[in-house]
């Protein structure tokens, strides 16, 4: 017989009370765990989605351009000092500290051309990099790979009346339409894509690049820092992050995180009060028993230990049950709230450990006063019959 065995036996003696106390704590914790797990999982999901977004860093030459557009209606640009990028920048981009986070670098040359009497924007690209960066592109035809292959946006193909396999002549060059781009709803629908070198020749921009799109893997890499790193190696370029949409989503997730933490605080307070009231009732109910312990020589610490152990065990069980319950709830809710089709529930041992420790700590804190009261109980007062 050890004092801890007394605590265990007392818990077993009152299964209903201890069960309901455990359930109350577990449900409270489950709500917090579900919210935290959801927000963490959704953050990871969005980061993953952002990785699939394609370019999230745009590199353009520094210029004194002023965009003349409003509400999606573009009236062109006022350019005071139009420049191009040198191809050497492609190598310099790969030298940044976070270079391992760069998934793809897609240089482009832009130029206006006239085809069948219609003005068209010609885009010279590295097809391999472009297709890797835009996984959402759906092609009708074969993937362009040859030096005379062209890819046509859906609108452009409709206006020009061409289909895969047709040939197009741009300037003094002839291209085979390898594929048509299915409608994307973006500016890509009206463009003509040809290999970079060919576009440079047609637009008389040999050895020049108009802009570079960079796809950076964002899970664990700060886009802002990468932008700064690239800007440092490309002092003549303007480097900007395409992050507004993602930031908006992350802001929402941030709010959810803050809400879950706030709710966690409220639930912790309620849990503290529930444990406190239960343990106070427990101590008052066991006054005679505690009086016996004190009378036969149990120190204050021994009695406190019994009460705290009981509270700690309840907290431990509630923590474990609450964590599993919260995970279950998060698993059910995640598909309804997440951005992607197949979101993954983020299982973090840190969350499990923190959840169980937090409930254990709350239980112990709540039991300190009742335990102290029990430990300092005067045996003569407790044993009224004496």
């Amino acid at each position: 017989m050890r004092p801890y065995q007394i605590a265990l036996k007392n818990l077993i003696r009152r299964p209903a009370r201890m069960f309901f106390l455990t359930v109350a704590l577990a449900v409270g914790l489950a709500a917090v765990v579900a919210l935290v797990t959801l927000s963490n999982s959704m953050t990871a999901d969005i980061e993953h989605t952002m990785d699939q977004f394609g370019a999230n860093i745009l590199i353009t030459p520094k210029s004194n351009d002023l965009a003349l557009s409003y509400g999606g209606i573009s009236l062109g640009r006022v350019s005071f000092d139009q420049r191009e990028l040198d191809p050497s920048v492609l190598e310099r981009i790969r030298t940044i500290k976070n270079h391992q986070n760069i998934a793809a670098v897609a240089p482009k040359v832009l130029g206006a051309v006239t085809l069948q009497g219609k003005e068209l924007l010609l885009v010279g690209v590295d097809f391999a990099a472009e297709l890797r960066m835009k996984p959402w592109w759906r092609l009708t035809g074969t993937e362009p790979s040859a030096a005379d292959d062209a890819l046509l946006g859906s609108n452009a193909a409709r206006v020009l009346g061409v289909k895969p396999g047709d040939r197009l002549t741009v300037g003094d060059r002839s291209f085979k339409v390898a594929a048509l781009l299915q409608e994307t709803g973006s500016q890509d629908d009206g463009l003509l894509f040809v290999p970079l070198a060919a576009a440079q020749a047609i637009t008389a921009k040999q050895g020049k690049i108009t802009l570079i799109e960079v796809a950076a893997l964002c899970s664990g890499c700060p886009i802002g820092e990468m932008v700064d790193q690239i800007a440092a190696v490309l002092p003549d370029a303007k480097v900007s992050a395409i992050k507004q949409v993602v930031e908006g989503r992350l802001q929402t997730i941030g709010q959810l995180k803050r809400f879950s933490l706030g709710m966690g605080g409220v639930i912790a307070l309620i849990g503290l009060l529930v444990v406190f009231i239960t343990m106070m009732g427990n101590v008052n109910e066991r006054k005679v028993e505690i009086g016996i312990f004190r009378a036969i020589g149990y120190r204050t610490g021994h009695v406190m230990g019994i009460i705290l152990l009981e509270a700690g065990l309840v907290g431990l069980v509630a923590g474990l049950a609450g964590y599993l319950l919260g995970l279950g709830a998060a698993a059910i809710a995640l598909p309804l709230l997440a951005q992607s089709d197949h979101p993954h529930l983020l299982l973090q041992w840190q969350v499990a450990l923190a959840a169980i420790a937090a409930v254990g700590l709350v239980s112990l804190l709540a039991a300190v006063y009742p335990a102290r009261r029990a430990g300092r109980m005067d045996p003569a007062d407790a044993l009224r019959s004496l």
């Binding site: 017989m1 004092p3 007394i6 036996k9 003696r13 009378a295 120190r299 045996p379 003569a380």
Partner: protein, 223 residues
């Protein structure tokens, strides 16, 4: 040996203090069996709790084997009770969710000794009170007399210097009372110092000496 000197105890009351003990000088020799008798409210239970180190007197001192027990701090006093005293309570006060054996082992729980050793000592104590067969039973499965004997076994399991008993037969019928008092007599014959509070005059015949309390004072000065 217990020696008290001018022990007084006042309890706060609405109008002021109520004096439960008004200066008690008492000596209990080692190996003695002393009965404290008196009417309800005479202060006999208060005196027992003070002698047993459970209630600080308002004034005066209590020495046990030369040690002024109330000069000890709370833990020191608890240790002293654990090492020197055994208690038998009127309502048995067994812990309901522990078996007879576990109840007897309670005073040993905080002590540093092996579980086997504790179990052996508790079994021996139960055997001494004739309840070796009831070790695994919960108090609710024991008769009043058996519960009282378990309480006695619990009180003597740590072989205390002094055994305090408060109305040990208060809840028992006369036949069972005789059995229990016989047990106290046996313990006394084995050398146990016993201080017992009772209002049953029949119990007095088992004691060597009877002290009477009246209105917080010894009716017959201790000699």
């Amino acid at each position: 040996m217990i020696t008290t000197s001018n022990v007084t105890k006042n309890y706060p009351s609405g109008a002021g203090n109520v004096a439960a003990l008004k200066g008690v000088d008492l000596t209990v020799e080692t190996g003695e069996f002393v009965c404290i008798m008196g009417q309800s409210g005479s202060g006999k239970s208060t005196l027992l709790t003070i002698l047993g180190g459970m209630c600080h007197p308002s004034a005066g001192s209590v020495e046990v084997d030369g040690a002024a027990i109330y000069s000890l701090n709370d833990d020191g006093l608890a240790d002293f009770r654990a090492g020197h005293f055994g208690f038998v309570f009127q309502s048995f006060h067994l812990v309901p969710y522990l078996t007879a054996l576990e109840n007897v082992m309670l005073p040993l729980a905080p002590l540093k000794m092996s579980a086997l050793e504790k179990q052996q000592l508790a079994s021996d104590a139960l055997t001494r009170v004739g309840l070796a067969d009831c070790a695994g039973r919960l108090p609710s499965r024991l008769s009043g007399g058996e519960q009282e004997r378990v309480a006695i076994a619990r009180a003597v399991v740590n072989r205390p210097a002094i055994l305090f008993a408060d109305e040990p037969t208060g809840n028992l019928d006369s036949a069972t009372s005789d059995q229990v008092m016989g047990l106290f007599a046996e313990l006394h014959q084995a050398g146990q110092t016993i201080v017992m509070v009772t209002h049953n005059p029949d119990n007095g015949r088992y004691a060597q000496r009877t002290i009477r309390l009246k209105d917080g004072l010894l009716d017959t000065p201790d000699s």
